[in-house]
């Protein structure tokens, strides 16, 4: 497991930030630090307050309560044009009355760099986003992906301390999006600027980020590295938002030798170390989560696992390299999903077939 402690120096500090719009509480006390040079993502479902938080950092809105500091300086009352941040807007916000080069040079004018230096920096920024030579194009003659890259170049050319990206890839088709994800990550490493990316796409957040803040309903539910989020989600919401998770009803039966003893419906008794209960624990009825790839189907009698349980295949979905099985286990209503790699000689089971499922205690996560 990766070390989850943030490295380096905190660039942005959020201290119990709240934001209300009339009756709507968009943010209900968000705290945390974003490190210098980090690729940080805000991940959460629609309406959870991601854009609101980004706009507070950019300076388009002021928090109702709480404080934001960038580079150690409190930002209260500092307007957006005086903050060391630049934003790539969800709608790209390309100026329609300017051409590509004029768009990219927009913020440079204030710096009075002179004609040649400005042109050089614009060309350099366009080169970074793979649009060298597009300077004279009119804004309306650009494709969605090109617009997005112009918006990126326009922000990067300012060499900000922090680049804020509000779902910059959501308007692109799948292929271009995947390409841009890799591209953005590469770019961020190359320029060393702190990126804060807003997304509701968990896969995108996992692929790109150093750390992710998962938000629900105006609050950060968990702030951790992608690996920790996937392997040690603190609660059911986080667990089901990131990847696929099987949930089992469970009961804490006791504690011995530093292990938490559980009785899991459908799987039986198991004892886990406290690290596998990242969200703490409730005494009585709780939930346990196991990822589909942590469950194994045992095809031959000689195959053994730490724990075994018998069930029946309800559904099998064949993906080529993988097969996803839904299994009915005794003592539980909800079928459990198991993913199996289709290696040579391994049969594909059909609905109705009996199946033996193996699992290990290290795959069990106790969810708050």
């Amino acid at each position: 497991m990766t070390d989850d402690r943030p490295r380096g120096r905190a660039l942005i500090e959020l201290d119990r930030v709240e934001k209300r719009f009339d009756e709507v509480a968009a943010l209900k006390g968000v705290s945390g630090s974003i490190m210098e040079g980090e690729f940080f993502s805000l991940l959460g479902p629609s309406g959870c307050g991601k854009t609101t938080l980004l706009r507070l950092i950019a300076g388009f809105d002021e928090p109702t309560r709480g404080a934001i500091a960038i580079d150690g300086k409190p930002m209260a009352g500092v307007p957006a044009n005086l903050r060391p941040t630049n934003m790539v807007f969800q709608s790209y916000a390309i100026f329609p009355h300017l051409d590509v080069a004029q768009n990219v040079a927009y913020g440079l004018r204030r710096l009075r760099l002179g004609r040649e230096e400005t042109a050089r920096r614009v060309e350099e920024a366009l080169g970074m986003v793979d649009l060298a030579g597009y300077g004279k194009r009119a804004a309306h003659a650009l494709s969605g992906g090109q617009r997005q890259r112009v918006a990126l170049a326009r922000a990067l050319v300012m060499r900000p301390r922090v680049l804020l990206l509000d779902e910059p890839l959501s308007a692109l088709d799948k292929k271009l999006r995947e390409q841009m994800q890799v591209e953005l990550r590469r770019l961020q490493r190359a320029v060393g600027i702190t990126f804060i990316l807003v997304t509701h796409d968990q896969e995108e957040a996992l692929i790109m980020s150093d750390r992710i803040a998962v938000m629900f309903d105006g609050e950060i539910a968990q702030l951790a590295s992608p690996e920790t989020l996937y392997r040690r989600p603190v609660d059911r919401r986080v667990a089901s938002f990131i990847g696929v998770m099987n949930f089992f009803d469970a009961r804490v039966t006791g504690e011995s030798a530093g292990l938490i003893e559980l009785d899991v419906a459908g799987l039986g008794p198991v004892a886990i170390p406290p690290e596998q209960a990242p969200g703490g624990r409730n005494a009585a009825g709780t939930t346990v989560g196991i990822r589909p790839e942590m469950l194994t189907l045992l095809f031959s009698d000689t195959e053994r696992a730490e724990h075994e349980v018998s069930g029946e295949v309800v559904d099998a979905v064949y993906y080529g390299d993988m097969t996803y099985y839904d299994l009915k286990l005794p003592g539980t209503e909800r079928p459990a999903t198991v993913s199996m790699r289709n290696t040579a000689g391994r049969p594909v089971l059909r609905p109705g077939d009996p199946a033996r499922v193996g699992w290990g205690r290290e795959s069990v996560i106790l969810l708050a």
Partner: protein, 303 residues
């Protein structure tokens, strides 16, 4: 006709019906009222004026031999040139004043009114439900020798004599026209401002612009189509206005349309009046084209 034939009718429509069912025919039918309307009310009178402008008045008759003498006179006589020039200047000033007055109002409603924008726009138009003549006379009451303004200035001791440059001159025409056309200028500017994507303004701010620079570099250029539309809406009809100059313009405020009216009426020289009208129209058209060209430059982007 037998019942069988009657039954077959819908399947084999008659010639006219078939014609009416075609898509092109349906289109024609749809536009024909508008087309007829345009033909009768716009094209026909215009053609007539154009024709007359090439004829000659012969007492009560019109001499229909082709001549360009009317145009020669219209373009060379110093009086007509003066009136034409004055009309353009007055219209230009009216346009400028109206747009400058309308812009802040439109801006306020577009950016600073949170709720009920439509209601605000509606309220702005209320004064203009009264008759135009009533409003002109209102300005007479305000600007006149014994008018509201002079009484107030005298009462405050700011002047010893009533001001005489207020009414019956070009100033009065400009004030009255600017007031009359304000709502027509507010609307297009408002629409252009309301259409501006707010994230563009935030982007400008994000890239370092303070409010003034942002206005100058983003808001104003992007609202230019509305400004130009407003300018055209005000400029085109005011060049040809003759009611306002007649009522509040005195002799110094008379415009080309007053002369056209005189030619068609008292002077009994319809061809010369027509030539003046066509000339004015041509000049206005040329100026409008310049405006439209400007508009394209602002909206094109790049270059």
């Amino acid at each position: 006709m037998s019942r069988a034939d009657a039954g077959a009718m819908p399947a084999r429509p008659s010639g006219i019906r078939r014609l009416l069912r075609g898509e092109a025919a349906q289109g024609l039918v749809l536009v024909s009222p508008t087309f007829l309307y345009a033909l009768l009310l716009l094209a026909a009178p215009l053609t007539l004026v154009l024709l007359i402008s090439f004829w000659t008045q012969d007492y009560l008759e019109l001499d229909r031999t082709f001549t360009t003498a009317n145009y020669a006179e219209a373009w060379s006589d110093p009086l007509y040139r003066l009136l034409m020039g004055r009309s353009l200047v007055i219209s230009g000033v009216v346009t400028l004043t109206t747009v400058l007055l309308a812009y802040p109002i439109a801006y306020f409603v577009a950016f600073h009114v949170e709720r009920n924008k439509a209601l605000w726009i509606f309220l702005i138009t209320i004064p203009f439900w009264t008759s135009y003549l009533l409003r002109v006379f209102l300005w007479k009451v305000i600007l006149g020798y014994n008018g509201v303004l002079n009484s107030a200035l005298l009462g405050l001791g700011l002047v010893d004599q009533p001001l005489t440059f207020l009414l019956y001159n070009a100033n009065a025409v400009v004030i009255t026209l600017a007031h009359a056309w304000a709502p027509f200028a507010i609307l297009p500017i408002y629409v252009a401002l309301a259409k501006i994507d707010r994230s563009l303004l935030e982007a400008a701010e994000d890239l370092g612009d303070g409010p003034l620079r942002r206005f100058w570099r983003v808001t104003l250029p992007l609202s230019m189509p509305g400004v130009i539309a407003a300018a055209l809406i005000v400029f085109i009809p005011t060049v040809g206005d003759y009611v306002t100059p007649r009522l509040v313009g005195g002799t110094d405020g008379l415009m080309i349309a007053n002369m056209i009216q005189v030619q068609f009426g008292k002077a009994n020289n319809a061809p010369l009046g027509a030539a003046l009208a066509v000339s004015a129209m041509a000049i206005v058209a040329a100026i409008s084209l310049v405006f439209l060209w400007l508009n394209r430059r602002f909206t094109r982007g790049g270059g």
